[in-house]
Amino acid sequence: MSLPSSPGSRPWTFYVLAAFFTLFVIFLYGPMISVLVLSFQGPNASLVFPLRDPSTMWFDELFNPRRTGDVVGAFDRSLPLALIVMVLTVLISVTAGFAFRRRFLGASLIFYTAIASLIVPGLVLSIGILVTFKYLLGQSAAWYTSALGAHLSWALPFGLLIMFAILGRLNPSYEEAAYDLGASRWQTVKSVVVPIVFPGVIAVALFGFTLSYDEFPRSWLTVGPKNTLPLEIWTMTTNVTSPALYALGTVTTIVSFLVIILALGSILIIQRKRSR
């Protein structure tokens, strides 16, 4: 019997799991594909099948909105917000993760506060933050202050917990061994800590970005006068919704594909250069 990942012929489990994986991908993409098809409709469009008079007008509507919401404007706020949340989540949760590797007074308190912050109903926190801004800070809500904080209150615990899973594998004896071998602090970090922590950092970044980019309840009252994307989409569904929403889904999917193909392509190129 061969190990699944060892070279040679593939075990039968490979085929079963490959089939399972394919089914899962179909499940994930099925609705996305119907969105893709239904975004190419004419003016008398409906949000369900059948497709009515194919056209690309809803993509035009998306970028030059007349009746639908200001998707582009909302995106111009959501993207920077998500990027800021992503960067802060990585920085703050990575440093905090290292702190928890040692015992210190209050560690449990901070840990459970973070868990509670993850769990609290977003709508309620949204109001709590708005009230805090009004009475304690005398500030109006805005996406780059109150909403940023609201998003961090939820992205950070996610990031912290993932860091726990990562750092649990980083045995302090590795670092000690590096020191014993005469490595400087920086060398140790670079050659021992970074390779182990890096994939986790990617996961934290991924979560940080997605959690903010898609957050509705915590944004509800904290964004101030200008909506972020999920709120704009929500208010669009409270009015005459059009396939512009589907067009948005299509554009998002295609752009993500391009980004990921680019990223994978550059990894491949770097790998090839290295192997030379």
Partner: protein, 427 residues
């Protein structure tokens, strides 16, 4: 140095205010939207409200006509109340439903608007300003506009019992709601609210998941069917609410409702996809189904309509030249363009005179006078909604509004209602 700069700024801005004020006064005399002094161009008014009335096109047109910036922000109903209660400074013009003013006015977050500064006040529909329509008193069941529009004095945040010179909001858009049906699928004529709960439509009916509106539709239906009786549907007692929710739960358990819709868009899809053949609906939703080429009727019913209306309030923090701009905007709002635009969406403007003038003969006949269309009728975005020969469901403006039976409202027992509605959701 810094101090001198500050003082200079103050002097300059004061002058600007005086100058702006003079122009504003002049514009009232001339009557048309005027080109303002340079400084007014720097003003940005934030107009916040719900999606059905806060439309990007309105802001764009206002900006063109008035010369200063109008920023339209769309929120949901609870979003507006919560934002106004906790962060009113982020909003300048509050576009609220009448029943929302009931919550917001006592919070003292709105200006008392001076009636004398509202041009054409006398032309505004008496539905709001007098509580009458076509010479008759309109229904007082529910939150009828007349009960909430006036306040005693400029600085008293409350509701006056009779007409005064100060209002909490300027009337804007309004309509009368009824049931939407798929005439091709109901298989029989629909004449009464009772049809909403008729066993004929088991599994094919829907109501709104907005407690304050959903309960009104339910009460209309149960009363029409002779199942329950209400002393005042605009202000039911706990017993009446309890009985109504009890009946609703019975219906839900029996599989009567295919769904409860929470968003406008859901109501369109339920109808367009044939999941539902009879449900409470909003007028533009019916139009949206029609534009998909599907037969959908906004069915007038013998018990009458459920009316609703919006008003524009000025938020307290607005002052100086910005306040002048706000008044100018409110005057522009009822000066015709908006009226013509929203008519095509199926709503009515508080100033029928200017709204009618903004429509073509064909459109005026169709939307206001109950006449058959003489040519195609199009939506504000230019899509065809009706063909020549079609008559608007519910007939003329007069006919429709003489039959408003009850108004959207926030009843005294709302807290109890919301707890009970939760029970309905959980059942």
């Amino acid at each position: 140095m810094k101090k001198t700069g500050e003082i200079l700024d103050k002097v300059i801005s004061r002058r600007a205010v005086l100058k702006g004020g003079a122009v504003a006064a002049a514009s009232t005399v001339i009557g048309a939207p005027t080109v303002w002094a340079q400084t007014i161009k720097d003003i940005t008014l934030n107009h916040t409200g719900m999606s059905y009335s806060v439309l990007a096109d309105i802001g764009r047109q206002a900006q063109k006509d008035l010369g200063f910036k109008i920023e339209m922000s769309v929120v949901d109903h609870p979003g507006l109340l919560n934002r106004m209660a906790n962060d009113p400074n982020s909003i300048d013009i509050c576009d609220m439903e009448i029943w929302q003013s009931k919550v917001l006015v006592p919070q003292d977050v709105l200006h008392g608007i001076e009636v004398s500064k509202i041009k054409a006040w006398g032309d505004l529909t008496p539905l709001y300003t007098e509580g009458t329509f076509a010479g008759k008193e309109v229904s007082r069941e529910g939150d009828s506009p007349i009960k909430f529009i006036y306040r005693e004095a400029k600085d008293t945040a409350g509701f006056a019992k009779s007409k005064t010179d100060f209002v909490n909001f300027v009337p804007s858009v309004f309509n009368a709601d009824t049931l939407g049906i798929r005439p091709d699928l109901t298989g029989r004529p629909i004449t009464s609210w009772a049809d909403l709960i008729s066993p004929d439509f088991k599994g094919k009916a829907a109501i709104q998941n907005v407690p304050t509106n959903g309960i009104m539709d339910a009460m209309m239906a149960f009363e029409a069917a002779g199942i329950l009786k209400y002393a005042d549907k605009g202000n039911p007692t706990q017993e009446e609410l309890g009985a109504t929710i009890g009946k609703l739960i019975e219906l839900k358990k029996g599989g009567h409702f295919r769904a409860l819709w929470s968003t406008f868009d859901e109501s369109i899809n339920l109808m367009a996809s044939g999941e539902v053949v009879i449900q409470s609906m909003w007028s533009p939703a019916v139009t949206a189904v029609q534009t998909q080429g599907i037969k959908c009727t906004y069915q007038p019913l013998k018990e009458g309509y459920r009316g609703w209306g919006n008003g524009l309030g000025i938020v307290s923090h607005v002052d100086g030249i910005k306040l002048d701009a706000a008044y100018e905007y409110l005057n522009w709002y009822n000066s015709g363009w908006v009226g013509g635009f929203i008519a095509k969406q199926g709503y009515y403007s508080a100033n029928p005179k200017t709204a009618k003038a903004a429509l073509s003969d064909n459109e005026r006949g169709f939307f206001y006078e109950g006449k058959p269309a003489t040519a195609d009728i199009t939506s504000p975005t230019g899509q065809k909604t009706n063909s020549a020969g079609d008559v608007r469901d519910g007939g003329s403006f007069e006919e429709r509004f003489s039959k408003v039976a009850v108004w959207n409202n926030l009843m005294d027992q709302a807290e109890y209602l919301y707890a009970k509605w939760n029970e309905f959701n959980a059942a």
